[in-house]
């Protein structure tokens, strides 16, 4: 009976502390400088270049991730085979890798001195220090976020839906497209949002593997880093934009999942 007196307030305090800690840096970005200063700092061709580059490289990376990752996650989720757990761990590995390690790994694999360096060179493909390398770095760090969510979403599907689809005359591919994906959509979209956020925020691997050059490889995080030393207000401005974009993505996800009609049926 005494617990009823102090436990609820304790919960409230914990939440208050967590909330303040998490929102403070974000609020500070918008409050540290005036809004006029923030906006004018964005009126800078380099900033616009960085934003454009971030947006389209992250989009391309996400397209690759979704197109390749969705069927891959489906296979993992719907088949039981011996190596399954190992494969899942391997796919999740980049999640826990520090971005710098990811950068090193990409260089070791695809850099000029890397495993495939000579082969790429022979084929005339330049990877490092190009926009392609940005896309590769973003794909590498963001893919596990999507794959994990997608695999969980497909695993949570009621198998009888997939079976029913087959008995109703639909092959595996049709079942995948017409039943599995629509039913798993909320989870897939959540994974997409997480992966996109991660891709937009990627810094360390990009810097090491792709370098930093305006218009080609300098994404918003890299631009923020460059401005931080010389023009803090500009850094704040770009950060504010990134926060706004990330918030927009998150909200779109929330709306999309609420609108989705797929609900778990209970008896």
């Amino acid at each position: 009976m005494s617990q009823a007196r102090w436990f609820p307030p304790l919960l409230a305090v914990a939440l208050a502390v967590a909330l303040s800690f998490l929102t403070l840096p974000i609020v500070a970005i918008f409050v540290d400088s005036g809004p006029a200063e923030l906006l004018s700092s964005l009126d800078d061709a380099a900033a616009i270049d960085a934003l454009t580059l971030s947006l389209w490289t992250s989009t391309v990376a996400l397209v690759i991730i979704v197109v390749v990752g969705t069927p891959a996650a489906y296979l993992l989720a719907t088949r039981r085979f011996r190596a399954r757990n190992v494969l899942i761990t391997l796919i999740e590995l980049p999640l826990v890798l520090p971005p710098a390690v990811a950068g090193i790994g990409l260089l070791a694999a695809l850099g000029p001195n890397g495993l495939f360096g000579q082969a790429l060179d022979d084929a005339g493909i330049r990877v490092v220090l190009t926009t392609l390398s940005v896309i590769l770095a973003l794909t590498f760090v963001a893919a596990p976020f999507y794959l994990r969510q997608a695999e969980a979403a497909f695993s949570a599907l009621d198998r009888s839906w997939l079976d029913a689809s087959r008995t109703l005359g639909a092959g595996e591919a049709t079942t995948f497209a017409r039943v599995a994906i629509p039913a798993a959509l909320p989870g897939l979209i959540a994974g997409l949002a997480l992966a996109w956020g991660r891709a937009l925020g990627e810094f360390g691997a990009t810097l090491m593997f792709a370098g930093s050059f305006r218009g080609v490889t300098q994404t918003v995080p890299l631009a923020i880093y460059e401005r931080f030393a010389t023009d803090f207000t500009a850094a704040l401005g770009l950060s504010a934009v990134l926060v706004a974009v990330s918030a927009a993505i998150l909200m779109t996800v929330k709306l999309a999942t609420r609108a989705s009609p797929a609900r778990v049926l209970t008896r």
């Binding site: 079976d163 689809s165 008995t167 639909a170 092959g171 609900r263 008896r267």
Partner: protein
């Protein structure tokens, strides 16, 4: 266009070994306890489960023949499958669910035909509803409509009514029985309820631990259960004991509790003696009006349950029995829980089944 299913499979602890032939227009009710392999058999027929060896044919179409390496995909077999939880696609409306079965029809007519199917089940007003908003009974009918819309060669129904509450179930049972009567294709209905099996199936097959224990009409199974399990399943009272043939041609069974009863069946050794609850009459306790052809058991009433016009009595004595009597009998004897009675039934009503 009959259906032939035979399969041998090892499913975890269960070894499945069954074979059936179901002629067109006939329905086989597969009954048995959970885990007996009933659903697995349906899945083999539909191609959702691969047996170690087996053969499935629909008329002249060979769907599966492990000996000849033939194995058609589920989508290539024309099965109408109703799943236990109906498996309606949650992201589609009712008519879309049914239309999914009509994908080989021209696009322009699909919606109309789907709605038509729903109308046949009285669901046209729910055609635009999503499964989550439907009641259990409504979902069951949509699932049935969807399976039938496929114009299948075979109907496979996996416990199609067990998800329903008792009230809905009664009407759904009658409805399903009507559908099965009209349908021209062979059908298999899986159930764990004997009364349902009796209602829906032209024949009943009892499966236990992966094997068919007995197959025949419902009344055959009830009248002559092949094993104690079948007897119990059909609702009989089962008493275990040892049988000794008596010189007058009857058999004396010494029950586990020590009591002796008589049966007109011939048997020896360990047996299960079965009698149906409605064959047991109740008399007030006291010196039994003994007739040699009757079995008597003193017992105490444990519970009295009225279902419709019938009353089920739970009796506890050296053996436990269930008796089914009329309400009049209860009133006449002023029976209450705790009353002492004598349960009586005929030796001819006592069937003996060898007990393994």
């Amino acid at each position: 266009m009959s259906l032939h299913v035979e399969a041998v499979a090892d499913l975890g602890d269960l070894h499945l070994d069954v074979a059936f032939d179901i002629p067109a227009r006939q329905c086989l009710a597969l009954a048995g306890p959970s885990g007996a392999g009933k659903s697995s058999l349906l899945r083999v027929a539909a191609g959702l489960l691969q047996p170690t060896s087996g053969r499935v044919t629909s008329g002249d179409d060979v769907w599966l023949d492990t000996a000849r390496n033939i194995n058609r995909n589920p989508e290539e077999r024309r099965c109408g499958y109703v799943f236990q939880d109906y498996a309606l696609f949650p992201h589609q409306r009712s008519w879309q669910n049914v239309a999914y079965a009509l994908r080989d029809r021209p696009r322009a007519v699909r919606q109309r035909e789907a709605r038509g199917w729903l109308a046949r089940f009285g669901l046209e007003h729910l055609a635009d509803a999503r499964p989550a908003t439907l009641s259990g009974g409504e979902r069951q009918r949509v699932a049935l409509a969807r399976a039938l819309a496929r114009r299948p060669d075979v109907l496979l129904l996996d416990e199609p009514l067990s998800a329903l509450d008792t009230r809905t179930r009664a009407s759904a049972q009658r409805e399903l029985a009507d559908v099965l009567r009209v349908t021209e294709v062979p059908a298999i209905v899986v159930t764990h309820d004997f009364a349902e099996a009796a209602l829906l199936g032209d024949e009943v097959a009892v499966i236990d631990e992966g094997r068919v224990v007995q197959q025949g009409s419902a009344s055959q199974l009830a009248a002559r259960p092949a094993t104690a399990f079948v007897a119990d399943f059909t609702g009989a009272v089962v008493l275990h004991g040892t049988a000794t043939p008596a010189p007058d041609g009857t058999t004396i069974v010494t029950l586990a509790g020590g009591h002796q009863i008589r049966s007109t069946d011939r048997a020896a050794g360990p047996v299960a003696a079965t009698v149906f609850p409605w064959e047991i009459t109740i008399e007030a306790a006291g010196p039994a009006t003994s007739q040699s052809a009757q079995n008597h058991l003193k017992a105490r009433v444990q519970f009295i349950t009225t279902i419709g016009g019938r009353v089920r009595l739970g009796l506890a004595g050296t053996e436990n029995l269930i008796a089914e009597v009329t309400t009049t009998a209860i009133a006449d004897l002023d029976l209450q829980p705790g009353s002492h009675v004598t349960a009586t039934w005929k030796a001819t009503a006592t069937r003996l089944v060898p007990h393994a």
